[in-house]
Amino acid sequence: MDIQTLFFAVVAAVAILSGILVITCRNPINSALSLVMTFFCLATFYVMLDAPFMAAIQVIVYAGAIMVLIIFVIMLLNVRVESGKKYTHGVLIGSIMAVLLLFEAFYFLNRSSLTGARGMIDANVVQNVGHVELIGRAMYTDFLLPFEITSILLLVAIIGAVILAKKKI
């Protein structure tokens, strides 16, 4: 077991534990902070996978912006502790479905092999060219149309959220 595998195992354990805390905590604030921990673990994995820019974006967008919004909403609605029951009445069926989903994924992953269009990008290329530049080259040439459509998605989100959240428009 080399040091990288050991590191992976430790961070993966933290990620799964905080994931379990997200769905078991009674207080939504605790769930939100556990989710931030999961996001940081995923950022660590992105660094291990030679994608440092993705790690930075993960921290900036998820841990920095989306979680701030979620925590604002929790404080806005002031639902600190759930009244009464924590779970729906479908706990048993829900758990069975989730376990089935997990086993299905394990089954297919064990039978699978890696296929798909292989590229030229490896750790050395990322080191020499720079990850941000590699991302930019693909984004602003091959993925030009999705990039422009993204702006329309953001425009719709801005308008929708303002209409829903503002009391008198």
């Binding site: 595998t5 992976f8 993966a12 990620a15 799964i16 994931g19 997200v22 769905i23 939504p28 989710l35 999961t38 994995f45 996978l49 030679d50 994608a51 993705m54 974006i57 993960q58 967008v61 998820y62 989306i66 919004l69 979620i70 909403v73 806005l76 609605l77 639902v79 759930e82 924590k86 779970y87 729906t88 479908g90 706990v91 069926i93 829900g94 758990s95 479905m97 989730a98 989903l101 997990l102 994924a105 992953l109 890696l114 798909g116 269009a117 590229g119 030229m120 990008i121 991302i135 693909a138 091959d142 999705p146 998605l153 953001l154 719709v156 989100a157 929708g160 959220a161 829903l164 959240a165």
Partner: protein, 100 residues
């Protein structure tokens, strides 16, 4: 030895945890956080496959998934606030006005 397999299995575990949370919790905000966790596990699968295939396209998809997640957060939480203003609750079992 660390391969794409380890990352994909971790991604599957996180996805199932998120699905479990969506299925069993009552609080709509926690359900929302579980959806974010599922999106993140998919991101992990994309980035790991992108590395082990040596192809950068998967990471572009992660970009777009993050954009969708942000747009979803803005609109979804605004919906939750609108619901709270009407029903004084964020529990999904109170979302029963359109139930037949």
């Amino acid at each position: 030895m660390l391969t794409h397999h380890s990352y994909l299995i971790l991604s599957a575990i996180l996805f199932s945890l998120g699905a479990l949370g969506v299925l069993i919790r009552r609080n709509a905000i926690i359900i929302f956080m579980c959806i974010e966790m599922m999106l993140n596990s998919v991101n992990l699968a994309f980035v790991s496959l992108s590395k082990y295939l040596g192809n950068i396209d998967g990471q572009i998809f992660v970009f777009f998934i993050m954009t969708v997640a942000a747009a979803e957060a803005a609109v979804g939480l605004a919906l939750m606030i609108a619901f709270y203003n009407n029903r004084e609750s964020v529990e999904v079992e109170d979302l029963n006005v359109m139930k037949w």
